[in-house]
């Protein structure tokens, strides 16, 4: 095997094994509206991206929420997006059907709606 192929293979393995680095913008998403309800397994909130790991009926999803200022503007605090909380995320899912990732434009917690991207929803 050529070293270059080995490096590419290593890169592929590493990228599969890594925690998800979030995406900018919507270039990677499908255009249709998408909704996901589940329980928060873990939350990484803060710059450069806020990322929630969601358990939705046994499926693990990665959901991108806002940066701190955007979450705050929507009326969300970090405590509201903590482990064990049930949440509904409304937004766009990854265009690749095999990828369980989404970008939230609004979220619903305990029946209350919080809009992250008022221009898009």
């Amino acid at each position: 095997m050529f070293p270059t192929r080995r490096i590419l293979l290593a890169a592929l393995c590493a990228s599969l094994a890594l925690p998800a680095f979030a995406h900018h913008g919507w270039r990677w998403t499908d255009s249709g509206q998408f909704e996901l309800t589940g329980t928060i397994v873990s939350a990484e909130l803060g710059n450069p991206h806020g990322v929630l790991t969601i358990d939705a009926e046994g499926e693990t999803w990665i959901a991108e929420v806002g940066q701190p200022w955007r979450n705050e503007r929507a009326g969300l605090t970090d405590d509201m997006m903590a482990e064990g909380i049930e949440i509904t995320l409304i937004g766009k899912r990854a265009a690749d059907p095999a990828e369980r990732k989404m970008k939230a434009e609004a979220v619903e917690i305990a029946g209350e709606r919080y809009v992250l991207y008022p221009g898009r929803i």
Binding site: A14, S15, L18, F21, G46, N47, P48, Q67
Partner: protein, 142 residues
């Protein structure tokens, strides 16, 4: 790797890292500073390398302070950005590749500045600095 893991966690809990993590303007500002540093560094290094390879007047050496200043700016801003998500970056394949390439680039630059400079160090520099840049950009797409 418990020892290293503890270092990354300690970096992440520095007051500076905590402040950057929740800031609205400071984080993008530091991010922009990192890009400006890279622009100055690579923008100065490439013309110097090409001049050496073409055997041209070493007048391009006047760009050297720009490269050094750019590197310093990129290093300071990049280190700050690292502390925000140290554990994730330390585990990132692309980040590790970038650091390895950066080490090669710095050893090469030291050889060059140490008087062993010539077409070989110039060619290595011309290839490796853009590779460091690419490695860095790929961290966000890993």
């Amino acid at each position: 790797m418990d020892g290293a893991g503890a270092i990354w966690t300690a970096l992440e809990s520095l007051p500076m890292a905590e402040a950057l993590r929740v800031s609205r303007w400071t984080y993008p500002l530091v991010n922009a500073g990192h890009i400006l540093g890279i622009a100055m560094l690579v923008g100065a290094v490439l013309p110097m390398d090409v001049a050496v390879l073409r055997g041209r007047d070493p007048q391009v050496r006047m760009l050297r302070p720009w490269a050094v200043a750019g590197f310093a700016l990129a290093l300071v801003c990049g280190s700050l950005l690292f502390t925000v998500q140290a554990t994730d970056y330390a585990a990132s394949f692309w980040f590790r590749l970038k650091m390895a390439l950066l080490a090669v680039a710095l050893v090469n630059a030291a050889l060059h500045l140490g008087g062993r400079g010539g077409p070989v160090t110039a060619a290595v520099s011309l290839a490796v600095w853009p590779a460091v840049l690419l490695g860095g950009r790929m961290i966000a797409y890993g």
